[in-house]
Chain length 214, copies 2
């Protein structure tokens, strides 16, 4: 049994019959956003967490010099918006038309997820990313990104919902370096690119991709 499971079961108090109705009550609120629309902004009160039902979301910060840094992309099924200090320290924005469910966290026991396992998953992915970004060359980062997105979509054949600029701001590279790396991967017959803005990706060799991510 994992630590997260322990807490999820042992940490929450037993539910009395009187509470059942409250727990069944619709605590979540369904929301729709257009592409580019802001979901929350830095400094706002953070009293809810969100689950992506449809679409995609980017979470980012704006650095003092104006550069944007993308902390995470979120696809259907993902949760985001959990904040330690009661205030968001980042922005969240719909990338394309998206449907979300918002859950207030005033009563964590009523949430359909364990906040602890959520925080720990986030931590684990943040660390994976650190490794990928800090220790890798440009082409290594892009290779990591292509594989990471493949895991997200569960296939070797998918459409990127974000622009090259988004990818660049996510990987800490210049747009041109991202484009060059994609082109190189294609030249090496490791991936194929097609369609609108070359956003249809087909992985030809997972092994070669992994080999690039020492």
């Amino acid at each position: 049994m994992t630590i997260a499971n322990n807490v999820a079961t042992a940490g929450f108090r037993p539910v009395g019959p009187a509470e059942i109705n409250r727990l069944r009550a619709p605590v979540q609120r369904l929301l729709s956003f257009e592409g580019g629309q802001l979901i929350y902004r830095q400094g706002e009160q953070a009293s809810s967490i969100y689950r992506v039902n449809e679409g995609a979301v980017r979470v980012y910060r704006i650095l003092p010099d104006g550069r944007r840094y993308i902390l995470a992309f979120h696809c259907p099924g993902d949760w985001f918006g959990l904040q330690a200090n009661g205030r968001h320290d980042d922005f969240a924005e719909a990338i394309c038309e998206s449907n979300l469910a918002r859950f207030p966290v005033v009563d964590p026991a009523a949430l359909p997820v364990s906040l602890l396992s959520l925080a720990m998953e986030n931590l684990a992915t943040a660390r994976e990313r650190q490794l990928a970004l800090v220790c890798q060359s440009a082409i290594g980062r892009v290779a990591w990104f292509v594989l990471d997105m493949a895991e997200h979509f569960g296939g070797s054949d998918y459409e990127l919902f974000m622009s090259r600029r988004d990818v660049a701001d996510y990987l800490g590279l210049a747009v041109e370096s991202v484009a060059r790396s994609f082109t190189k991967l294609a030249d090496l017959h490791i991936i194929q690119m097609e369609g609108r803005s070359h956003r249809l990706i087909r992985i030809l060799s997972r092994e070669k991709l992994k080999a690039l991510i020492d």
Copy 2:
């Protein structure tokens, strides 16, 4: 009230009088380590969390190509070792002679810290670091590091307990680049370096340091 506090109070079940004794029982175990000694290794069962009482700890991974990447340094008061999946995916090692307290997590309610706030703190620091590392030049990273350590020690005048190589593996730079950046900071009269291996750091201008971190 922050989200973390909500959960810490609302998430854990009320403590009956019968449980008081068990909660007071010495669940922690005191441990001593010499400098360089391994605390746990990747793949080991992760059934405890640790608090640093004295000394310092580095948590790291070994990449397939043999490089080492340091995920975090921990000083007295810090907690580490919390793992999502029940197995450590990293190594922990005492940097110098260190005393730790180990707490089994089988019963999270008996721990003196909330696992959730722990996980969320870790997440927040991991993100800060991502920003610092991905978006910064070499000297910016070192400036960030110098400030970060100052916060840890609560002063402008402290001794680094780790080698330049440790710093390099932490910041994702070559040792030489780290040394050059330190030298540059000293040449610019932003810091002073003294003593054994130039590990005594005195910050002369916090403002100039911050200015280097865009």
